[in-house]
Amino acid sequence: MIVADRKPIQEILAMVKADKKILILGCKGCVTVCNVGGVKESEILASTLKIARKQQGKDIDIDVRVLERQCDTEYVAQIKDIVNDYESVVSLACGVGPQFLSEMYKEKKFYPGVNTTFFGGAVQHGIWEERCGGCGTCSIHDFGGLCPIARCAKSLLHGPCGGSTKGICEVNPDTICVWDAIVTKKMAAGEIGDLMGVKGFKDWRSARDGGPRRSIREELIQGNI
């Protein structure tokens, strides 16, 4: 899923410093799964902002709503009758949410309450790790089921670079050297040959380098676009 981290509270306070009535909009999708933007976290943020305001002797009116997802116009449309009641809206959804909101409600201000970071999963409750870089041409099967594009700091296709120590990447002691893992797996399976030869030069057009992407499924499009 998409993983995000809550923005520092001072940053959010600065965003809404001129506002007296705001809406905090959570999301039941990815940000709920990574415990940063669901019902609970939205309420916690509301209370925290109120405490901060009261500290200054001022008040702030905060409502909390949580949408099923903010990456679907169908759900984003659900707040059309109330969105004008607020001076600004803090969205705790991933980067997609505040943008969909901005596109639908062009005159309103939407602030991102989280920093969206990566595609990953929970390796244990409370710890999420990056696994995928969204490169658009998945070939993890060539690397024992591990992705060197997303998980190698240098995106090598013929690693390891020689900087790892005991399977840990030299760049970050919390990161495993994915190439050490790939090579160990291949050596154990007697398949070193799979790593030999020069792999094709990556076509980065399918990645973000090719420009913002679109995925169209004709058979699913209804009516006129």
């Binding site: 090598l156 296709l157 399977g167 760049v171 030999m196 020069v198 030069f201």
Partner: protein, 310 residues
């Protein structure tokens, strides 16, 4: 290998069967040409070619391309280095053509240290292609005269292609295979990371010779003279991919502070003597980091002077 691939001095020396001796020189952290030319003087006549590093350890310095050209103008031969961290394939091919046009004929293809180690850690890194693909790319440009997209090059670049090898990195069992892969991709010569653990290196070279890799590629053993026990300790603890045996550190500690540099040089000289006889080793790459003025003395005492003129 009947015809010369690049005609570089290093290529000619190796091809003629001489024991090669290369050095290293880091460009300045600025456009200080005078200081750079000073460093060149120490190396003149002592080495067959000089590595010109490329933003080494991700610290911004004058480009390897520019410094290499300055070296050519001073009558020395550069080993132009290119890392994959800072350039995409377009810039790489472009710089390779530029290098040839500026009289540069040796090129070392490296991954590059991650930018988080350097002085601009906020930078975006490139890594469009990796070092093995870069080797294959230069070879294609040189031998087929074509760009990566198969368009014909208007005067193909002639480079003697080099790569690095770290026999001490993890996982150890794989390093010789990765070396084989670099040679397969087209590496003409290899320079190893600096060696301190001779036992391990001897074992590594046995594997290299068993696989016949020394016959397809010239392998130069990396040597770095230790200035003192402190340096040895530092490298052991903080530099990844290094294998520094306690024996060496104890040897350095065993003499007075003021004598440790000499002890370090003695160790290096012993290594060079052994490398001259070691099967599979075609030469030595001396990395006297920030100690360029010692190179003439070391070369003299290692009895590698005068350098052959081919």
């Amino acid at each position: 290998m009947s015809e010369l691939k690049s005609g570089s001095n290093l290529e000619k020396v190796l091809k003629a069967g001489y024991f090669a001796f290369t050095g290293e020189c880091g460009p300045p952290k600025g456009a200080n040409v005078a200081h750079l030319k000073e460093k060149f003087q120490y190396l003149r006549g002592c080495v067959d070619a000089v590595n010109v590093t490329d933003n080494q350890t991700a610290v911004v310095r004058m480009s390897s391309l520019a410094a290499s050209r300055l070296m050519v103008e001073e009558g020395l031969e550069p080993n132009f280095q290119m890392v994959c961290r800072d350039r995409n394939r377009l810039a790489m091919m472009s710089d390779i053509l530029g290098a040839h046009a500026l009289g540069i004929r040796n090129m070392l293809c490296l991954s590059g240290d991650h930018q988080s180690f350097g002085n601009h850690p906020q930078a975006k890194n490139v890594h469009d292609i990796d070092s093995i693909q870069l080797i294959a790319l230069v070879k294609k440009m040189r031998d087929q005269g074509k760009f990566l997209n198969d368009e014909v090059i208007d005067v193909a670049p002639k480079m003697f292609v080099g790569a690095a090898c770290n026999p001490f990195a993890d996982p150890y069992e794989f390093r010789v295979h990765r070396l084989a892969n670099k040679i397969e991709a087209g590496a003409d010569f290899i320079q190893t990371q600096c060696i301190f653990n001779m036992d391990r290196f001897r074992d590594f070279m046995k594997q290299v010779v068993d696989m016949g890799l020394d016959k397809r590629c010239h392998i130069l053993a990396g040597v770095t003279p230790m200035k003192n026990a402190g340096m040895a300790n530092f490298m052991k603890k903080f530099v990844p991919g290094m294998d520094i045996p306690d024996d060496l550190i104890n040897r350095l500690k065993g003499v007075d502070q003021k004598d440790q540099a000499e002890e370090g040089i003695c160790f290096a000289l012993e290594q060079i003597e052994e490398f001259k006889q070691m099967q599979g080793v075609a030469g030595v790459h001396l990395m006297a980091i920030e100690w360029e003025h010692k190179v003439p003395e070391i070369a003299q005492r290692a009895k590698v002077l005068p350098r052959p003129v081919v």
